[in-house]
């Protein structure tokens, strides 16, 4: 029997959101070192060393697919963690499903990533849950009756969440209450035309379900165009780099996310402290989610009972084991898995305070 | 009926009138010269006949039908070939290929034949090469068939260009300054070559040339233009003694 377990990480080490890849990688490293230091992962009474292969998907959908294929075919990994962004997780999920390799995405929230894909799992809540959370919070906090949305067209996550939000908000505030629904393309840098349209429509707030790097540009440009109202963000804001890029412009804004590092307790705090000590900055959602996702995977491997020699067989057994995980206590909360294999868990809303810290505001559970 | 008839041909470039009211009629089998000072519009006339410009005004009738406005390759297909003031051979193709490619007006096979290497393709390809070799043979160029033009001396390049024009079996051949850049010995060869072509290929030749020895020996008739308009027309002797022509063109050769 093989003496090691090989797991692939399909993560964005370069490209639009490199910090996400970095945090995923660090979380993986931390977990691997911890387990290997203890002699390895025990499966059916035997210890296996963990071997994690980190592959860069450049934050591009097509690269995510080829990286997945490479991990599956060339590196012969047992399972894949990632991709994080739904933009990559949706297509890469297809590749894993087609090639019958288990995949678990830590942070993808778009339903399509796992939909009708028995081989694909995740550790994050879903956008059909997150969208209403954002809508409700904005209505309550800003007393909003109207909203505007600006989203990234080429990103499954952004587009999907924008649509879900729009449907939900209009259900609650009447048709037409989303007064502007604008999009932009890949690699765009100037959003002035869209923002001009949005500002002219006079919404009560602007919903931005976008990656943190784009958020920084959008928020600044909106302020240049005279916008003084609030923004509401979603989980893709949750990254330590948001504040370095966005600076003062983002302070005071709210976004929904998976966990709040500030004020964490128990295992969560332990993780945060260890990570901060090791890498010098506080881990954001993705590090915690990667930690959880990898742990779910390892738990399922242990649940398999034993590892055989046939990789195909092992992958199949692992998939079945993953599907049988019913509940998991992770550092991002307790998750119960539904029939689709998606976790049911709570979301939090955080405020970016004047020190640029993400401050816990509210927790919403399904 | 004349082979080529030009009626009141006029060509403007912006405000500049390069050719004005130019008329001529070439009978089959003639060897005619077109001379005139630099910038008189001679090349422009050739360009109009070969379809490179669309005339601002005027008629060009070849073998009884109008050719003004046709595409250059269509005009060539009807039997007018030309050479250029500055040699324009395809420098990366061998001499033989230069001649072969000029058979495009008469390929005899289609793209599909070429891709599938049909019988027809093979037959026609063979014919094209044989005919090309015949032309080269006739002009004593056969031994250069596999050379690329830049490797040939200037005089031979001129000859290859003439061979290429002949290969489309024209009934009218336009030569634009064939002797330019040739030395006296080469010029003598050229004169006899043109005479031979005129005889053996049974074609009409119309040529532009500044070297008087060439036109005076070759042409039976000369047309002189200046500022796009005809200033004289006649036999070489008449032209040589025409005071207008001497004043505008020939000058006096004492230096």
């Amino acid at each position: 029997a093989p003496k090691e377990i090989k797991i692939g990480f399909n993560i964005p080490l370069t490209g639009d959101i490199p910090k996400v890849g970095e945090e995923s990688k660090f979380a993986g490293e931390m977990l691997k070192e911890a387990i290997n230091a203890a002699g390895g992962l025990e499966v059916g009474g035997q210890k296996y060393k963990l071997n994690f292969v980190y592959a860069d998907n450049e934050s591009k959908a097509e690269s995510a697919v080829s990286v997945a294929l490479k991990l599956i075919e060339k590196d012969q990994v047992l399972a894949i963690v990632g991709p994080n962004s739904s933009k990559q997780a949706v297509p890469a999920g297809q590749a894993c499903d087609d090639n019958r390799t288990p995949m678990i995405s830590p942070w993808s929230t778009n339903p399509d990533a796992t939909l009708n894909r028995p081989w694909v799992f995740r550790a994050a809540f879903l956008d059909p849950f997150q969208g209403p959370v954002a809508a409700d919070f904005a209505m309550e906090q800003f007393g909003a009756k109207t909203a505007a949305v600006l989203f990234a067209l080429a990103n499954d996550y952004s587009k999907g969440l924008a649509e879900i939000f729009q449907a939900d908000f209009e259900k609650k505030n009447g048709p037409g209450s989303v007064v502007a629904f604008e999009s932009y393309g890949d690699k765009d840098q100037d959003f002035s035309a869209q923002l001009t349209k949005i500002i002219a429509a006079k919404p009560d707030f602007i919903f931005l379900p976008n990656n943190y790097n784009e958020v920084a540009l959008i928020v600044k440009q909106a302020h240049d165009l005279g916008w003084t109202g609030p923004f509401m963000g979603a989980d893709a804001w949750g990254n330590s780099e948001l504040m370095t890029l966005c600076g003062d412009d983002c302070k005071g804004q709210y976004f929904s996310t998976h966990y709040a590092a500030a004020g964490a307790t128990g295992a969560t705090k332990e993780f945060i402290d260890k990570y901060t000590a090791k890498y010098g900055y506080e881990p954001a959602d993705v590090a915690a989610l990667t930690w959880d996702a990898t742990n779910i995977l390892l738990k399922a491997i242990q649940d398999m009972g034993s590892l055989g020699n046939d990789l195909k067989e092992n992958r199949k057994n692992l998939r079945d084991a993953l599907a049988n995980v019913a509940e998991f206590h992770g550092i991002t909360g307790t998750m119960k898995f539904d029939a689709q294999g998606d976790p049911i868990k709570c979301a939090v809303v955080v405020k970016i305070n004047d020190n640029g810290k993400f401050e816990f505001t509210k927790s919403v559970c399904p | 009926m004349p082979l080529l008839e030009i009626h009141e041909l006029t060509q403007y470039f912006g405000g500049l009138c390069a050719v004005s009211d130019f008329s001529v009629a070439l009978e089959s089998g003639e060897l005619v010269g077109l001379i005139g000072p630099n910038g008189a519009g001679k090349t422009t006339v050739f360009n109009l006949v070969s379809g490179f410009y669309k005339p601002t005004q005027g008629k060009i009738i070849f073998k009884g039908s109008s050719i003004a406005g046709l595409k250059p390759h269509e005009i060539t297909g009807r039997g007018i070939a030309r050479t250029f003031q500055n040699i324009r051979l395809w420098n990366h193709m061998t001499v033989l290929e230069n001649i072969c490619v000029s058979q495009h007006y008469n390929m005899g096979y289609s793209l599909m034949d070429a891709l599938l290497r049909t019988k027809r393709y093979l037959k026609q390809e063979k014919r094209i090469v044989t005919e090309a070799m015949n032309i080269l043979e006739a002009l004593d160029l056969a031994r250069y068939a596999d050379e690329v033009p830049p490797n040939l001396p200037y005089g031979l390049q001129r000859k290859v260009e003439i061979a290429r024009a002949l290969s489309i079996k024209p009934s009218l051949l336009l030569l634009d300054e064939p002797a330019a850049g040739l030395n006296s010995a080469d010029v003598k060869d050229l004169i006899s070559l043109i005479q031979r072509i005129h005889r053996e290929f049974d074609i009409t030749i119309w040529m532009i040339e500044h070297q008087m020895t060439v036109v005076m020996t070759l042409c039976s008739r000369l047309k002189v233009i200046d500022f796009g308009a005809t200033i004289a027309d006649g036999t070489p002797d008449e032209i040589q003694n025409n005071p207008d022509v001497i004043k505008a063109y020939l000058g006096d050769d004492a230096i």
Partner: protein, 241 residues
């Protein structure tokens, strides 16, 4: 001795184009270089003006002395600026996207002598009145002969005192050709040294004091114009019998 070429060997890549050419030009002389096509005449002139690669050839032996100074390590633009040697190249090489006037103006790039420049303009326009008419025209649309005039005019505008001409009569109508040679003669009489390549050997020998005959990269004969025009070999090969 103004220009002295000593045993010059020159190559293009692997092909040697000149095999030991030697010639001299004295101050105020008009010298002509005649020879068959491909003999290496153009190569000789291009080598003197140090035209850089890829067009320019490479010197592999011998020397070019100008007033006793070697030109071999001098850059092409310095040849014009400092040594005042100008070339009207074969094939004209006018700047087609500039107007006629700009072409002439450009030739004065490194000159500061405003007065002399003015005089030079006048000289060129007098020599080629056709250029005055075409002053504002983009020069690529000029007729072949007009372009030739521009090329010679441009060389004169550099304010040179040694003029190299590569087949200046190519494509010129007879009247103009004679006019130009008369004008060149006058320039020469005013002190301009001229080295001329010409296919029309009869005319060239009429014009020049001395001549060299080249064949396949070597000088095969030289002498005064009179000697050469009477030389039976030269007569047979280049003067048409």
């Amino acid at each position: 001795m103004l220009l002295e070429i000593k045993d010059l060997y020159v190559r293009y890549g692997n092909i040697e184009a000149l095999h030991g050419v030697s010639l001299t030009v004295d101050k105020g002389e008009a010298v002509t270089l005649i020879g068959a096509n491909g003999a290496g005449k153009t190569t000789t002139l291009n080598t003197i003006t140090r035209v850089p690669p890829p067009e320019g050839p490479k010197v592999s032996g011998g020397d070019i002395l100008y007033n006793g100074e070697s030109l071999l390590d001098i850059e092409a633009h310095t040849i014009v600026q400092k040594y005042k040697i100008a070339l009207a190249p074969e094939g004209r090489h006018i700047f087609g996207n500039l107007t006629v006037e700009e072409n002439l103006q450009l030739a004065t790039y490194a000159r500061k002598d405003t007065e002399a420049i003015k005089a030079d303009y006048k000289r060129v326009y007098d020599l080629f009145p056709r250029l005055v008419e075409r002053k504002k025209q983009r020069s690529e649309s000029l007729s072949g002969g007009e372009q030739q005039m521009l090329a010679v005019g441009r060389a004169l505008m550099t304010g040179c005192d040694f003029l190299l001409l590569d087949e200046p009569s190519m494509g010129l109508a007879p009247l103009l050709m004679y006019d130009m040679f008369r004008a060149l003669k006058k320039l020469n009489q005013q002190g301009m040294t001229i080295l001329l390549i010409e296919q029309n050997a009869r005319l060239a020998l009429q014009f020049a004091h001395r001549g060299y005959v080249m064949d396949t990269g070597e000088i095969v004969a030289h002498g005064t114009a009179k000697e050469l025009s009477e030389n039976p070999d030269v007569k047979k090969a280049y003067l048409g019998g």
